[in-house]
Symmetry: C2
Subunit: 352 residues, 2 copies
């Protein structure tokens, strides 16, 4: 019987990027794994999440030369906590590494929902799903029959927003994306009523007007900049904008042009509301109650954009920033067949 | 016994202005007064309101060479409507003229609140008061203890916002205005805790930070542009901006620079919501129920900036656009002693 490996592979950030990050901004390192103390456990990561907000972390929140952080799903392989039994699947935030020592207080043992794959907790049941859910319900306060526009509609939040909007009773749902292939995907597989390629055609405003000739009531904004301006232009009176990010801005180095038509907010009684999903953790229970029955019945299926192999985590992240993903971008570490070591006998210390 | 005069003096617009309007954009004319039909009455105007939104009307909503429109308070002097008895004080929208023929369905017979002057229905109980009330309650959803910032704080909406914020339980209330005299007025007479002259000193952001060192929760925006940017910068998390106008923009001819820090709306979970008071007429009852007891008790008094004489209506309007008023800008027509003609015998026709 082998003791669990006492090292972890991890990605660190070597330097702050200017504009779009490059692979050389990162380093893959092997680090010793501190033995778990009381209340801790060793987790073998199975799935890692790469997300747009991480681009912002690279500018300052992330410490250089330290293992990066991110949402992750793993299995407990060694435990000094009764709350984290060996074999348990857990959600935690020590991503970008193969193994992590986690504190019981900071992880969630995942419920086993029949017919729901654990990795959905990085998808529709994860941060992106929660972002879309909070955007539609708490921020935009979607009403039955509303016309909804989603930018970056083929991305993680976008694919979730389209499907959730349908389940929540929206009327027409339109999306924009950056390629003809994505546009097809939106209407053929992801339930959008209309979609357009914002890189083709006669400009955003004209395309949005054709896709939603009677205007839009709700805009889920992942993008900012020109998309926000076009959406404000297309808004009907009392429209609502749930602003959850601005991918376009993160790499720009300077603030993007704000919408020139911002005063339309007054003229059309529009609400523009930003939010951080991290402030809405209490909506997670509601999301699961709402969505799990639909996932179980197959009415919706999760759409993950899977990159295989831990060593390709940076590729997955950079590809997501370039908009190459369709659906939520995740990395699978190839440990699906992983069996917990039987009868582990860790020497548990005390947490400080 | 003289029959009521069958003419009215009125202001018309001669041409569309470029930038700040000038007196020559207007003309004072004498027009015949069509005899009232059934359901109509002749009103002798006592008070006229001049408002920032009228600058926008000049660009298109107002027909050239026709009598202009605006909120007004007058007395019924001749009536073909049982709902509008001679002598009644009414609120109506046929301003910019000395007399008007009004339809009973389109005017409001003013309630007589003891201790409340009728002209308050152009002030705290009028459109500006309602704008401030809706901004604070429905849009910003003011909470007890909130720090409130008001730009153009010595203007019509601003003076109302400061006093209403206090009555509604705000914590610190800070305002900006365009002169040292106004700044003194704000703190000495209008209940502001701090105020600053945005035309003096080291720039808006620094001044706002000194006036509200712990940040602001609510911003009532009458101005847009640089004020909006400074307010976003000073906002605390979950701040709310009620945007009811942009005086600075109306004369600019082109859209003003939008805030460069707009993305802070996401980072700080800020809500920026525009509104038109005309969509919130149903809040009028609530406003009166809330405010009349305070007006009656003298806890607040209305602050009107009165220009005397109908012939000076254009001066009052242009002065208001230049920010010369402190409090709500109105025109008094000098008919206070007006007695209704006794036993009028109008020949009432039929409305088409």
């Amino acid at each position: 019987m082998n003791a669990p490996a006492r090292t972890t592979r991890a990605f660190t950030q070597r330097r702050r990027p200017r504009g779009m990050p490059v692979p050389e901004d990162f380093a893959e390192v092997e680090l010793p794994l501190v033995p778990p103390a009381a209340g801790q456990a060793v987790v073998e990561n199975l799935w890692l999440s790469v997300d747009p907000y991480m681009r912002e972390c690279m500018d300052g929140d992330w410490e250089l030369h330290a293992p990066l952080e991110g949402r992750s799903i793993g299995r407990v392989v060694e435990s000094c906590s009764a709350e984290l039994p060996v074999g348990a699947l857990v959600f935690h935030r020590e991503g970008w590494r193969t193994r992590a020592v986690v504190n019981a207080a900071e992880v969630r043992v995942l419920p086993r929902y029949e017919g729901v794959a654990p990795q959905s907790f990085l998808g529709l049941l994860g941060g992106t799903g929660l972002t879309a859910y909070v955007a539609l319900t708490r921020i935009a306060r979607l009403r039955a029959g509303d016309t909804v526009y989603v930018s970056a509609a083929a991305g993680g939040v976008g694919t979730a927003a389209g499907r959730l909007a349908r389940l929540l009773g929206a009327g027409r749902i339109v999306g924009s994306a950056g390629s003809a292939a994505k546009v097809r995907l939106l209407t053929e597989e992801l339930g959008y009523d209309a979609a357009f390629d914002h890189r083709a055609g006669p400009g955003l405003s004209g395309q949005l007007e054709r896709a939603a000739p009677e205007g839009i009531d709700v805009y889920v904004d992942n993008v900012g900049g020109a998309h926000l301006e076009a959406a404000i232009g297309a808004m009907r009176e009392h429209g609502r904008i749930a602003w959850c990010g601005a991918v376009a801005q993160y790499n720009a180095g300077s603030a993007p042009a704000a919408p020139r038509n911002l005063f339309d907010l007054v003229e059309k009684s529009i609400r523009l509301e930003g939010f951080l999903v991290s402030r809405h953790g209490d909506a997670q229970v509601e999301l699961e109650e709402f969505l799990v029955p639909h996932l179980r019945s197959g009415r919706v299926t999760d759409r993950l954009h899977v990159t295989e192999g831990f060593e390709r985590t940076v590729d997955a992240f950079l590809g997501m920033l370039r908009g190459e993903n369709t659906g939520k971008a995740v990395v699978r570490l190839g440990h699906d067949a992983l069996e917990p070591s039987a009868d582990p006998e860790p020497s548990c210390g005390h947490t400080s």
